[in-house]
């Protein structure tokens, strides 16, 4: 379980408030999607929850352990797939995996088992001797996926994991996410791909301009849209002035024909609404 309480972060160099009073509770046994447009604060939030950067205020608990107070213990309880898989390009794939396994203290036999199984699943077995720099973006992402699971973490945090993956690997990843959650683990991932979020998320949160605009499940999101539309006296998704809202409108029209709004339409509309009413809303 991961809990973020009142997290805020302003980058000193640019003065940009990337995350503003964000609170999230990611329970065990669920796949939690973290959605938001570019620059919304998704990666900053993930970096804060993994200890890569420090928040200006607020706290992060990983399985009840305070990341600020017991960073080593807290960090051992999650595996991270970063958004930039091209780091350490001069290392060979197996050297990188070995390094990560050493850091987590994984025994030789355990690391061989995990690496063999996951490399086979992601069709990376033939490339383990290659320098990371010689791999495609998708292959690097697969390598990071293996590295993130090498110590069998309870919490699995993934930053834009679908980008660059081929359909086979994307399918394998989704299966792994489902299995991880089914075994009682936590899966927290950020994505731009609404279709993926819609299909596999048990719960989701939407962030815009550093503020949480929604947290709950898909049904809750639909209800929220409808109630907002009634409250504001606007027809949901209609009459919006900019391109994003028009796209949402079109998507909504298409999906409503099929019996309900798509996540993409709801997301776009909510982000658009968030410009006018940024207060945090939570739905169970």
């Amino acid at each position: 379980m991961i809990e973020l309480t009142n997290i805020s972060k302003t980058y000193a160099k640019s003065g940009t408030k990337a995350v503003d009073s964000l609170s999230l509770r990611i329970p065990d046994g669920v796949i939690f999607g973290f959605l938001g447009p570019n620059g919304a604060g998704k990666t900053t939030t993930i970096r804060i929850m993994t200890g890569a950067i420090e928040a200006d205020s607020g706290s992060v608990l990983i399985d009840g352990i305070d990341l600020a107070k017991e960073p080593m213990e807290a960090k051992r309880r999650f595996g991270l797939v970063p958004d930039t898989p091209d780091l350490f390009s001069r290392l060979k794939a197996y050297e990188y995996l070995n390094f990560i396994a050493d850091v987590y203290g994984v025994s030789a036999s355990d690391r061989v088992t995990v690496i063999e199984e996951l490399a086979a699943r992601f069709e990376l077995s033939d490339a383990l001797k290659s320098p990371i720099g010689s791999m495609s973006r998708g292959m690097r992402m697969k390598l990071n996926l293996i590295a993130s699971l090498i110590h069998k973490p309870h919490n699995w945090i993934l930053d834009e994991p679908i980008v660059g993956l081929d359909p086979h690997a994307a399918f394998a990843l989704k299966e792994l996410m489902r299995t991880h959650a089914a075994n009682g683990g936590t899966v927290f991932f950020s994505t731009h791909v609404m279709e993926v979020a819609e299909r596999i998320c048990d719960k989701l949160a939407i962030i815009n301009k550093g503020r949480l605009v929604f947290t709950g499940d898909l049904e809750g999101l639909r209800e929220l849209r409808e109630s907002r539309g009634r409250l504001s006296g606007r027809v949901p998704l209609a009459g919006a002035g900019d391109g994003a809202a028009r796209e949402a409108d079109m998507a909504a029209t298409e999906s409503t024909d099929q019996g309900g709004e798509s996540l993409e339409a709801l997301f776009l509309a909510l982000v658009e609404d968030g410009e006018h009413a940024p207060e945090e809303v939570s739905k169970p």
Partner: protein, 557 residues
Amino acid sequence: MRSPFISLLSLSLKSVFAIHLPTKKEIPSPKVLLKTFGWMVLAIVLLADFGFMFAMMDIGMHDALAPFGMQQLMLIYATVTASVLVFLFAFITSLSFFSSAPNEALFLTMPFKPSWLLAARMATVYAIEAPIAFLVMGIAAGVYGIKNGSSIDFYVWMLLNALALPLVPLAVSYALLVPLVSASRWLRRKNTILYIGGFVGLALALGFNWYLQTMMARIEDPVLLRRLLIDSEFNVADIANWWPPAWFTMTAIGNSSKLAAFAATLANLGLGAALAVATARLFGRNYTKILANFGELASVKGKIGRLQAQTVFARRPVFISLVQRELRLMNREPMYFLNGPFVIVLLPVILALSLIAQGRQIQEALQQLRPLLDGQAGYLIPAGIGIFLANSTSIASSAFSRDAKAIYVLKSLPLEPRDIIAAKLVHALLFAAIGIVFGVIGVGLLLSIKLIDIAVALVLAIFGAVALTICGLVIDTFWPRLSWENPMSALKRNPNTVMVILGTMGLLAGLGALSASLSFPKYGFALLYGTVFLAAGIGFGLLLFRKGSASVRHMEP
């Protein structure tokens, strides 16, 4: 609207000469002011350094030849020097630019003619070569013109021909390299190009050093000078006769008729431009094929078998793993390796070349220095060289800067910041140890220093090198340069490394001056400096390990 070719050309030039001038808003910042001032001073010092070397050589040569009425030979010499230099630089720069082929490949998707892509690249190389020719020819023109009261025409022809000199070498370099790189899969790899470019570049630097040293020796001897210029079988005057750009240049400046001089200059520029255009047109298509088929790093196929896996995936202590990561990431990046650890080998080679090139003068100087070497200089000089070599790799002063965005990953792992710092320190100290051995023992043996003095120098160098290595790491831990696109920004263009190298040189020069002015017993200096280095090392160490962890926690690329 600009033509696509002009836009491409402008982009190519900007990507190489990416000089950021401070904006009005940035100027009031003391940091920006200091940085701009520092870069300006560095540019002036570099220009003055090379300018001074060539000016002294030209003056020496002119004065040596003037009594025989042969001072015009110095112009032939300057023309040939400029031609050879731009040829070598054109070749090495053209070769090095192939390493940016993966980025350039994006242009293949845009509506550019193949010849435009090559022409834009050639123009960028020309923009690097032309100032070199201009500097060499300009200084020679100045020396000769002032001493002989030449007319303004002379300067005009010299400088216009200087602009023509790089064109033929540029065309020839690409005419050789494009088919070569195109035919060889091995050469179409970034690593190969970077290593070859790096080693050829170093050989060039060594050759240039050798040339300067030998020329200085020759200028003092008119017989040797005359032999080099006209008397030997392979002399400078002959090169000027068979190398067309040099011949045109000499015809232009040696002709009293303005029309003939103008015609020769025009022919020089025309020949160069025509060859450059022809090369771009002839080899453009092949060049685009290179861009399309350029590999960054070679992938290796093959599974790791069960038996092999037990060895490959053996568990190691975290700290060993961290040190190994540092070693691999530094030494496998050619730009880092050649400008970092390899410097430990390079600097002694340069020193050895100087000794060989100026053998007689050095031997004489050593004879005179012998009484001095029997005193404190006998251990202070090797210790100083050892300390300098140990800190010349810039490993410590670029330790965090080189990691840049990888810091995010490191910080998300269950690693204590002090362990990350310690691994970086151990990595730097490993190479510092090699530098100390090369510097102290190498110089000690070369100067026939007594064993006891070598031993004292070794201890002193260890104290000094450790203190300065920790100091370098302190600087890069508290003020790392974490945002960059080109890895060179983390090493060669990093103010931290420049500060540490220049600081070490300044410190050693200061200690040298102090040692010459103080009268201590012979080993009193060792005691004094050793104590200071030890205290500084402990101080920097405490600072690094007490405050460094907090700095790592706050790092945000």
